[in-house]
Amino acid sequence: MSVATTQVGAIARRSVVRTSRQPASIIPPLVFPVALMAVNAGGLASSTELPGFPTDSFLAFALAVPFIQGALFSTMNAGSDIARDVQTGFINRLSLTGLRDWALLTGQLAGIVVLGVVQVVFYIAVGLIAGVTFESGPAGIAVLLVYGAIVALCFGALGAWLAYRTGSGETIQALFPVLFVFLFISSMNAPRNLIGVEWFRIAATLNPVSYMIECVRSLIITGWDWQALALGFGFVILLGLVSFVLATNALRTRMTRT
């Protein structure tokens, strides 16, 4: 195993270990999105009677939302953890080792991916237990796991950038509601073509989060919708690339050493 791989593994292990020791970081990303989904599925079940609604199970329709909502929790957790490392000086300790900048970022994100996959497995299990049929079959579930990992990685990179940039856990916490606004003005509760309020429909159409939700949703209720998959993967990878570049630059500034 190369030195860099060993370093990435050590940092990823630390990320997973410290998260596993914080129930407050594990339980909310699992419970809150599922609870919100249950509430929406109960209250909005009659939406399925609208002409053109793509499924007769609102639960199946709503199951896509926890995937993205959970990723937002990942962003906040990743950001808060990294900000704490900056505030406590732990990052100085890491700077004084032979750790490469990119290995630190990759290791931290690898830890987030592991947790992101755990979240996705939980959401899929809840869906299966609740009787949701995954139209894309076992292969689609495998794609969902991959997509969940990529979403966690890309949103985690966003959290990492904010943390390295600001070095403040409070700032990360304050940004969380802002990220949630993107979720709420998306197609989370209704297909875009059925949104009656024009400004909301336009906002949802411009909002990349809509396409991420629709990507997951297509695998659950449609089967293999290649356009939805391309848009979903495309937007999240774009977000990831931009965030990764920003996070790398911010980390380089933060880990100032000669």
Binding site: A10, R13, V17, R21, N92, R93
Partner: protein, 325 residues
């Protein structure tokens, strides 16, 4: 000097944006295997110097060689041969002591088959073997400091930087750290650059001391040399009653130069005189004195002589000036 375990600094300056010169043109040399005490009040420039020497901060100007390598050009090489315990014991409260040591050993490229045994060895060495699997959040300040020291030693460094390693610790924990530092030098010949604001610490541990104030080194030498520079010891007599004070003052003036003191009557002894001369004279003249003490010069006296302030007073001034930074 090009020795692999030494430190050589020439005209080192570090300026902060919109701030004063934290380090203002210092020169110093630390010989291999030496414990160098860098003594000064808060805000004097000690930690900034450590940050520059450990490659965490680039100098504004001047040169610094650590283990023969330039801090500006050879950062990665220097980081491979030094161990560092910074002022704040930066530990992850959610990890155990053993987790920390394994992580540090991995990142410092300690061979995989040696990581476990090295962690065990260091846990025993710093007295944390029984607490190895407890989360650091439950550790006392002394335990955190000892773990910090163990982490700095994990890759068997040749040069060790300890930035105020005992600040805020109780006397027992302080003594434990001192013993460990002395042992490392004695057994492994590690060069130690130790910053401290405790005179006693510098006096007990350091082979040589550099006193820094306002970014400049104001004195340097062995503790004995520095105290000898100040010169003669002083004698302090405590009168039995306030009425005795003028008589004792007049009596002691025969033996040396009077020193200002509200608590007692003090003189800096003239050359060639000792406590025995005064005791003999007290007996012969029947002078009534409650107590008589001989004070050898301390590093605080050195600091006072060099800066016009006591170390304690300088620390208070520095704390008042902190918001300007």
């Amino acid at each position: 000097m090009t020795d692999a375990n030494g430190i050589e600094v020439r005209g080192l300056v570090r300026e902060y944006k919109k701030g004063p010169r934290a380090v203002d043109g210092i020169d110093l040399e630390v010989a291999p295997g030496e414990i160098y005490g860098f003594l000064g009040p808060n805000g004097a420039g000690k930690s900034t110097t450590v940050h520059v020497l450990t490659t965490l901060l680039p100098p504004t100007s001047g040169t610094a060689l650590v283990g023969g390598f330039d801090v500006v050009k050879d950062g990665p090489r220097i980081r491979g041969l030094i161990g560092v315990a910074l002022q704040e014991a930066a530990l992850d409260p959610l990890l155990t002591a053993r987790d920390h040591l394994r992580l540090q050993a991995t990142l410092q490229s300690v061979p995989k088959e040696q990581r476990g045994s090295r962690a065990e060895e260091l846990l025993h060495r710093v007295g944390l073997a029984d607490d190895a699997d407890r989360k650091v959040s439950g550790f006392s300040g002394g335990m955190k400091r000892r773990l910090d020291l163990a982490l700095a030693l994990v890759h068997t460094p040749r040069i060790l930087f300890l930035d105020e390693p005992t600040t805020g610790l109780d006397p027992q924990s302080r003594t434990d750290i001192w013993n460990e530092v002395a042992l490392m030098r004695r057994e492994a010949g590690v060069t130690v650059f130790l910053t401290t604001q405790y005179l006693e610490e510098a006096d007990v541990l350091a082979d040589r001391v550099g006193i820094i104030d306002a970014g400049k080194i104001v004195a340097e030498g062995t503790p004995a040399e520095l105290k000898a520079e100040i010169g003669r010891p002083s004698v302090h007599a405590i009168p039995r009653t306030d009425e005795d004070r003028p008589k004792i003052t007049e009596f002691l003036a025969r033996f040396g130069e009077p020193l200002a003191s509200t608590r007692d009557v003090a003189v800096r002894l003239n050359e060639g005189l000792g406590l025995t001369d005064i005791v003999r004279a007290v007996d012969q003249n029947g002078v009534d004195i409650a107590d008589l003490e001989l004070h050898a010069p301390t590093l605080d006296d050195v600091f006072l002589a060099k800066t016009g302030r006591t170390l304690e007073g300088a620390a208070e001034e520095s704390q008042e000036a902190q918001p300007r930074r």
